[in-house]
């Protein structure tokens, strides 16, 4: 099944360095992501994987380096800008809005597309209401896509872990992103849940052509679903290539595969 | 199960709340004149609120012990306001209809007075503010229901200026002098400013305004400023704990207490008691009366009320300054009822509207006062429709470390200064509120 076409480079990271206080989280890292591909970032704990995602969508601002997103050169990103340009993400430790229902959580993903003003919203008239109902439909489609109809009105706090992860993904999908960053989407899941999640990720990539950058610990999963893999270790890049290349890379084996297996 | 219990608690509470609010409605009894009493026996102003309330109630008890007002017994009920305006309004609303209706109300708070000024005309209940309230309400033509009996702050401030002028040897000597006003940062504390500025213009002295925030325990900066500017006199317009704090800070910054003059709300025992020797020489205005342990009325109270074990507060406090203030406030109200009965029928229940007539036509000459046991305590009071104050006499007393004793003669507020200010301010109020001032003819009705 290879209906999708891998396109040109959409995101290019050049010599990114990031440090907190004296701690160097990322050192001189460069890699790129191509349109429509599934790109994985792997590495042992503390390798700087999450920091990398945080740099891409502007939560962290690197001290050095350059980010080229769709041909535009920047020093760093800012979260709002990143979101507006179609970068969405999920979180390692689910960052859902605990006080809200599943539906509302996903609806927040549409916020950038909702334009009606405060006054209209207060009166629940005209464009505000229309907009609300239109986006509800969009969100329902995502709910249907991720098969979470039965929990749509449940407060997310009451959901089991696996479903929360799915809602997290749903919220990101609601942004209709071009690039989707997934931070350990399958962490802590059982086999069945992992299978479902894999299926969803591939479906998203396939059906919407979304470019996916994911961090994952489960090597089996990574090698199965990603087109290219970049390997980080202690903030440095030690490998980059298609799964088979990476698997064969001796440095990767000693740093990561060797250590954890 | 836990949830159920919570629900049960909530439900029972709700039931109790709704049920409770309607419980304490007492029924009106015939042959009673109801005196609602707004008090504060708790909070920052309790030290001053308590003796006033005790004096007030003791006098009512005394009146009852003497057979009431032409046979009409006095009923009374306290309500705690905590000196807070909204609680005061609630108390007023709660009490105004009880026991056949309130005769008059005495808020003992300038803030509550302002709020009730808006409500009283609708309810037709006189608001008696003996020695406080808004000064311009002396003009009964505009403020039909306010009675700042025997003293307003303008009058008080005027007397203080007169007193220091006398000390300095004449008003012309005031030129170039500096007077600092340390005041409670509220309408109460601000009242004298207008008069002081008026007088400052007249005599060329300088007024420095030093506000102190509620509740008044933090005055370090104020007194540093006094130390810096070294004013010739400090007028103190404080209340509650602020008074004693001021005196202590004066002591700590070395400002001579002899140069300090408090208004009559800043010159009572609780203000100086715990300062003791440190307050020696501190002066305050006496709203006619001072501490009057020897007055006949005090003896009556001790005999007929405390003697029977019905005293409201501790015996030691009977006759102290604020106790007397409460007592006199009660007396004025009782006499208002008596006056009204003269017109509307002796031994009859008096309504609020009738009470107003009584208060507007008070005429307590010295003989009457003496008979009531106030010989040496007060000067005559005579009110009219246009003058709701009735008496502008005051004197100064000084703390000698143990007790208050008079240190000046009687002064009278200067009508020439006061009257125009009252007319101007009340006129402005009338404009704002679109009130048509009453004419002398209206008053006769």
């Amino acid at each position: 099944m290879s209906g999708r076409k891998i396109g040109d480079v959409i995101l290019d990271l050049n010599n990114i360095s990031l440090s907190f206080g004296g701690v160097k989280a990322l050192q001189n890292i460069s890699f790129n992501v191509m349109e429509h591909e599934v790109r994985a970032i792997i590495g042992p704990n503390g390798a700087g994987k999450s920091s990398m995602l945080n740099v891409i969508n502007g939560v962290y601002h690197p001290q050095e380096g350059e980010i080229i997103f769709r041909g535009e050169h920047r020093r760093d990103m800012d979260t709002h800008q990143a979101a507006e340009q179609g970068i969405a993400r999920t979180f390692q430790n689910i960052a859902l809005f605990k006080g809200m229902s599943v539906l509302d959580n996903i609806m927040t993903g549409r916020n950038l597309r909702m334009k009606s003003n405060l006054f209209m919203q207060a009166l629940w008239i005209g464009p505000a209401r229309r907009e609300e109902l239109e986006h509800r439909q969009k969100v329902e489609e995502i709910i249907d896509f991720l098969e979470i109809q039965h929990i749509r009105k449940t407060p997310v706090g009451r959901l089991p872990y696996g479903l929360q992860k799915r809602v997290d993904l749903a919220r990101a999908l609601a942004m209709e992103p071009e690039v989707l960053l997934l931070d350990e989407p399958m962490a802590g899941m059982n086999v069945e849940e992992k299978q479902d999640m894999c299926r969803f990720i591939l479906d998203v990539n396939d059906q919407f052509g979304t470019t996916i950058v994911l961090i994952e610990h489960d090597m089996g999963v990574v090698m199965d679903i990603s087109d290219r893999v970049v390997v980080l270790d202690y903030g440095k890049k030690i490998g980059d290539g298609v799964p088979d290349e990476v698997r064969a890379n001796p440095e990767v084996i000693s740093a990561y595969l060797g250590a954890s297996h | 199960m836990k949830q159920i219990r919570k629900l049960a608690i909530a439900a029972s509470l709700a039931a109790a709340l709704t049920g409770g609010l309607t419980v304490p409605q007492a029924f009106a009894q015939a042959k009673e004149q109801f005196f609602p009493i707004l008090v504060y026996r708790t909070g920052a102003y309790a030290p001053n609120g308590v003796p006033w309330a005790n004096g007030f109630i003791d006098y009512l008890k005394l009146t009852n012990a003497k057979g009431g007002i032409n046979g009409i017994k006095l009923a009374f009920e306290e309500c705690e306001t905590g000196y807070a305006t909204d609680r005061g309004v609630e108390c007023y609303e709660r009490l105004k209809g009880k026991h056949g209706g309130a005769t008059a109300v005495q808020p003992l708070s300038t803030g509550i007075t302002f709020a009730l000024t808006e409500k009283a005309p609708g309810d037709k209940i006189p608001v008696i503010t003996a020695g406080y309230g808004r000064s311009e309400s002396q003009n009964g033509a505009v403020f039909g229901w306010n009675f700042p009996l025997i003293g307003t702050y303008w009058m008080g401030a005027d007397v203080l200026v007169q007193h220091i002028a006398k000390k300095e040897g004449g008003f012309d000597k005031l030129k170039g002098k500096k007077i600092a006003l340390v005041y409670h940062d509220s309408p109460y504390g601000k009242e004298p400013i207008a008069l002081l500025q008026e007088r400052a213009k007249m005599h060329g002295f300088d007024v420095q305004l030093l506000p102190v925030a509620h509740p008044g325990v933090e005055q370090k900066a104020t007194w540093l400023q006094i130390r810096q500017n070294k004013p010739d006199y400090v007028f103190l317009w404080g209340w509650g704990v602020m008074n004693s704090t001021s005196i202590k800070e004066a002591q700590a910054t070395g400002y001579p207490r002899e140069k300090m003059y408090g208004v009559w709300w800043s010159g009572a025992e609780p203000d100086v008691k715990d300062v003791g020797e440190g307050a020696k020489g501190y002066n305050a205005l006496a709203m006619q009366h001072g501490a009057e342990p020897n007055a006949k009325v005090i003896k009556d109270v001790l005999g007929m009320v405390h003697g029977k074990g019905q005293g409201t507060g501790p015996k030691e406090e009977v006759g102290q300054v604020l106790y007397m203030r409460g007592l006199i406030s009660a007396m004025l109200q009782v006499e208002g009822v008596r006056k009204a009965q003269e017109r509307y029928g002796k031994g009859k229940h008096i309504t609020g509207e009738q009470m107003r007539w009584g208060l507007e036509n008070l005429n307590l000459d010295q003989k009457t006062l003496d008979a009531l046991g106030f010989a040496g305590v007060m000067r005559p009071v005579q009110t009219s429709c246009l003058d709701h104050m009735g008496s502008a006499w005051a004197r100064v007393h000084t703390w000698d470390g143990k007790k208050w004793s008079f240190s000046s003669d009687w002064y009278q507020g200067d009508e020439k200064v006061l009257r125009p200010m009252v007319m101007l301010a009340s006129g402005k109020y009338a404009d704002e509120k679109k009130i048509k001032p009453r004419t002398p003819e209206d008053c006769k009705k």
Partner: protein, 309 residues
């Protein structure tokens, strides 16, 4: 110049009292994450108890000596503060573990009401004095240096000395005793504290006790200067900018913050106040803290917060 020094001293003096109250805030916040609004009420409660017992004891025991009466009163008051701490932990805090900050804040406000009510019921609502024999009248010093000299209260110096001793004692307590070390541990990590072997609830009682003692010291100093009355409990509001400035979790922050706020307040009121009508010190302290916060959101000595995602 001499006036400036007087102002400065006055500010430092006030600041020191703020520091004592702020110290109470910080101790409790560090150990239990509770922002204890009742600290002001505790100051009032302790001072009231102290004042009244010192007043009653000569009558009860027939003791003539002021010193002895005060001493007994202090001991009794410490005992009472211990009971208060125990009751607060037992009846309220224990049941509120893991609630959010706002809820805890409100709970301590509830405790404030209770303490205010109990204090006034037991000890009365009049103004009482604490007489620990401090000299009241000021002296003029440094006349040689400045024209007119500098007006100084010996009382302030004694008070400052007492405060300094308290802070030193607390420091010793935290650095040298096992309990103190456990308290510091609990501030960093509740689990770690458990491994030290002291149950969490006991730690809370202890820390509330310590806060109670600082409250008592603050109460005695304040009370002997200005008398004890209900309004004392509002001192909490004056000390709030201090903790914000100093950082909620920093003991040195509370002390230095207190001094900064105290001085800032007085100087602003004295030098700025007259131009805008006076009475600005309260909000000036808050504004000072606020402006400061905009540049350092975690306070002077607070720990930097890093968002982990």
């Amino acid at each position: 110049m001499s006036f400036f020094i007087e102002t400065l001293l006055g500010g430092l003096m006030t600041g020191m009292l703020y520091s004592l109250v702020a110290l109470g805030f910080v101790l409790i916040y560090k150990a239990s994450g509770v922002f204890n609004f009742a600290q002001g009420a505790m100051v009032l409660f302790a001072a009231l108890a102290m004042a009244r017992f010192a007043e009653w004891i000569p009558g009860w025991l027939g003791i003539e000596s002021l010193f002895l009466a005060n001493l007994i009163a202090i001991v009794i008051t410490v005992g009472i503060m211990f009971v208060v701490a125990w009751l607060v932990e037992r009846l309220a805090l224990r049941h509120l573990v893991n609630q959010n900050e706002a809820t805890l804040l409100m709970a301590t406000l509830g405790i404030t009401y209770v303490l205010d009510g109990v204090g006034q019921t037991l000890f009365g609502s009049d103004i009482y004095k604490i007489d620990v024999g401090m000299p009241k009248d000021p002296v003029i010093m440094f006349e040689a240096l400045f024209q007119g000299g500098v007006l100084i209260n010996k009382e302030d110096f004694i008070a400052a000395a007492i405060a300094a001793i308290l802070v030193a004692a607390l420091t010793l307590f935290f650095q040298k005793t096992p309990t103190g070390r456990a308290l510091r541990a609990v501030a960093d990590d509740h689990q770690a504290a458990l491994s030290v072997g002291i149950p969490l609830d006991r730690i809370w009682v202890i820390v509330w006790c310590v806060a109670g003692i600082t409250a008592l010291v603050a109460g005695i100093i304040w009370g002997s200067k200005l008398g004890v009355q209900f309004s004392l409990s509002t001192v909490a509001l004056r000390a709030l900018p201090v903790v914000i400035l100093g950082g909620l979790t920093s003991v040195p922050g509370a002390i230095i913050g207190g001094l900064i706020i105290g001085v800032g307040e007085k100087i602003s009121e004295v030098y700025l106040g007259p131009y805008v009508g006076g009475g600005i010190e309260i909000w000036f302290a808050y504004m000072l803290a606020l402006v400061f916060l905009l540049f350092r959101p975690q306070g002077l000595f607070g720990e930097k917060i890093i968002d982990r995602v």
